[in-house]
Amino acid sequence: MNVVAPFEGIGASLRRKEDFRFLRGRGAYTDDFNRQGQLHAWILRSPHAHARLTSVDTAAAAKMPGVVAVFTGADMAKDNIGGLPCGWQIHNKDGSPMAEPAHPVLAADKVRHVGDPIAVAIAATREQARDAAEAIAVSYDVLPAVANTLDAVKPGAPAVHDGVGGNLCYDWHIGDKAVLDAAFAQAAKIVSLDMVNNRLIPNAMEPRAALGEFDPTTGDYTLHTTSQNPHVIRLLMGANVLHIPESKLRVVAPDVGGGFGSKIYHYAEEAIVTWSAGKLGRPVKWTADRSESFMSDAHGRDHVSNAQLALDANGKILGLKVHTYANMGAYLSTFAPCVPTYLYATLLAGTYTTPVIYCEVKAVFTNTVPVDAYRGAGRPEATFLLERLMDVAAQETGIDRVELRRRNFIQPDQFPYQTPVALQYDSGNYQATLDQALVTADWAGFESRRAEAAKRGKLRGIGISTYLEACGIAPSAVVGSLGARAGLYEVGTIRVHPTGSVTVLTGAHSHGQGHETTFAQLVADKLGVPTAQVDIVHGDTAKVPFGMGTYGSRSLAVGGSAMMKAMDKIIAKGKRIAAHLMEASVDDIEFDRGTFRVAGTDKTKALVDISVAAYVPHNYPIDEIEPGLEETAFYDPKNFTYPGGCHIAEVEICPETGKVSMVNFTAVDDVGRVINPMIVEGQVQGGIAQGIGQALLETCVYDADGQLLSGSMMDYTMPRADDLAPVSVATHTTLCTHNPLGVKGCGEVGAIGSPPAVINAVVDALRDYGVRSLDMPATPAKMWQIINGGRRMAAE
């Protein structure tokens, strides 16, 4: 009989099942796979941001040692290979669809960013392939380039795509401008702020890789790839690019070394190795160098905005007006168009009762790497804008910044709360997370810490953000109406084996989130099967029925809910079998953690008795119930989920060097029900590190000609252990009202709530220097410039 130790279920900080293999070097990442006869690909990439290809001559390269083939865009065209598809269509203000220029796998006639793939050399070793790629002779007619978002919309700017006027992908808006204008007319105070949300390079530690295989006897293709959503890659690549039926294409995303959004998208290299494997009849592997990652992984953020907040005399917000330019890069990556629209503008109410919001977004093409979702995706941009604006509003109205937030909070009794920007929040308690964070961070005692730091010659500041996000995307019908070209449900299969162990097949994909543990805990909690007897299978289209993958903090809220639904079906079937075995009415059968009981009696059957009966149906109502104990559920959520909370950052600035040091960070987040507190804390800690990275360290820099200046870890500042300080992470739970687990999601909250808290702290530290607007990252050089300039001002 299965007895569940109570510590394995929901709420237990169970140590992770997957750690045994990772800690012993037995993880299986894409580059770890090697096949008999395997070849290696090296991609020739454009060194120019914008150029016409006048010739691509592969003759010399093809004769190099070890080289098996060299392919160009022209070779792909002969095979009728399609372009990389975009999965989301946004419509302009006038109802017309966005501009959606072709995104060739290998450049056909033009290259549009540094790193744009031109050709592939395939050889026996990786270095030989690289030698050959260097020997490809390309003639470029170099064209003027534009990298900066605002430059791209200036009259006369170079056209990234012929036929896309003004480099404008779309001009979109949400909200009622007339109502907003009326609200602004009533305002006692209007606060306006220009802000840049800095462009980031995701840098998951595992560089992207892809291994294509083709079996000529069956015609089956297999792709191993570093993906967050293998079924989506199969769908997009099979249907749009290579024209391979799904039944002939298996996509495996094995262990994946971090994603943060950058491994959601369908990339050129996946199509290149799969197609090449078919052409050559041999496995073809490509693994990115980190330098290649910088110029080929989708980047994140990159907004330029003006925001205006209208307040009444008491500091109540009357309305919010936002204008944003969003950089799309040179092509539309898979989910790019939805990020600065439905994942951004719909979040602009935040935790506040803002009655009217109007936001217009112009998405712009530039000669840069495509930009798409990066941890938080749109929501960090909205949160940064709103929480910076709140601090400036507090400053300019003279209302305390905590008090101003309190006055505008949605109250706990106002849920469900309909915002003016489409979303309906189901639950939350922003006062509670704020109160708890203020106590933990000792907000009240800050001034004495500031004074103590001043004695040491340091400028100390404290900053707050009371944020909200929407995740667990989402109802398929809703996202479909907003332009998604896919559904956003999730799939779970529960397979109870004859002797009672369980295999779970899930469409969610774990690349660090610990699904193999958390999902096993769900099964332990509901079915009473010890986690040691629960195996989670994910990341293989040949094993898992279907799935939309992992991003947007959706795995537990959507994927976990699908499992719960499938387990409900298992229990329902089990009750019928139990009723038969115990000669009772099915209505009298109760189930609790592994035991079926005839209500009010001591007659019981364990789950294993039921599974044995189901697979060995000797005494079984075979006419009424099919044998076997396996159920699949597709779960399509009713709404987004709405985590929120309060982040408080405390920093010290060295006025001599300008270096900002993190000294304290407090997070109190409402992520709904917590299944594994240890894992949730880890997710939040990691998100905060990325948020602090954005605020203090990281930024992608292009020069005016589109050359990537921050093109390696020598110039792109990755957060290190000594850049960060210990963080205090806690949760305060209100349950999600519409999914069976009451969960909201925790993967992104850290990266969403933290950047404005950090920048608000830096601005607070610099309060004697008259800083109103501060763009991220707050680098030492930038801080010194402010401090030095401030001193000069004071001296003059």
Binding site: S13, R15, R16, E18, D19, F20, R21, F22, L23, R24, G25, R26, G27, A28, Y29, D31, D32, N34, E127, N203, A204, M205, E206, P207, D255, V256, G257, G258, F260, D289, R290, S291, H511, G512, Q513, G514, P677, M678, I679, E681, G682, Q683, Q685, G686, G687, I688, A689, Q690, S712, M713, M714, M718, P719, R720, A721, D722, L724, P726, V727, G750
Partner: protein
């Protein structure tokens, strides 16, 4: 082609390599010890760290020929033959110091060297500074620092169990 003889996790191997073959390539591609990873090309991320003759080394910045005669330990060689984890491995699990696992082998190898180099105890600041050569994108380092501190106590005999207090 040059020939290299080296001992890896107690086993002696002789391999022909190109002059340009990196130690990490020898480990991953010839010896199929894929636990050691490559995360960057500027010698910064530390995913490739292995132990050579008792010191942590970036195997992506070491030619295979330069490791001739060396005694190399990789992540695969840490646990005991019966599967018992090294205290550092156990601490990483106990303190949830890994998420995607990609930086983990290098992080663990560096951490062991770091603790060995501080036989009289190690402070949090020393741990943070000692990890300058290892990048992690998932954890924010918080739990890595805690895990190393706990493992240090066990490795230095200050406590016997990695297990943290019930929470």
């Amino acid at each position: 082609m040059p020939q290299v003889t080296l001992t890896v996790n107690g086993q002696t191997h002789t391999q022909e390599v190109e002059g340009r073959t990196l130690l990490v390539e020898l480990l991953r591609e010839k010896l199929r010890l894929t636990g050691t990873h490559v995360g960057c090309d500027t010698s910064q991320c530390g995913a490739c760290v292995v132990d050579i003759n008792g010191e942590s080394v970036k195997s992506c910045t070491t030619l295979a020929v330069m490791a001739n005669g060396a005694n190399v330990t990789t992540i695969e060689g840490l646990a005991a033959a019966d599967g018992t984890l090294h205290a550092m491995q156990e601490a990483f699990r106990e303190y949830h110091a890994l998420q995607c696992g990609f930086c983990t082998p290098g992080m663990v190898m560096s951490a062991i060297d770091l603790v060995n180099k501080h036989p009289n105890g190690i402070t949090e600041q020393q741990i943070r500074e000692g990890l300058e050569g290892n990048l992690c994108r998932c954890t924010g380092y918080h739990n890595i620092v805690r895990a190393i501190a706990a493992a240090a106590d066990v490795m230095h005999g200050k406590r016997t169990e990695i297990a943290r207090a019930a929470e």
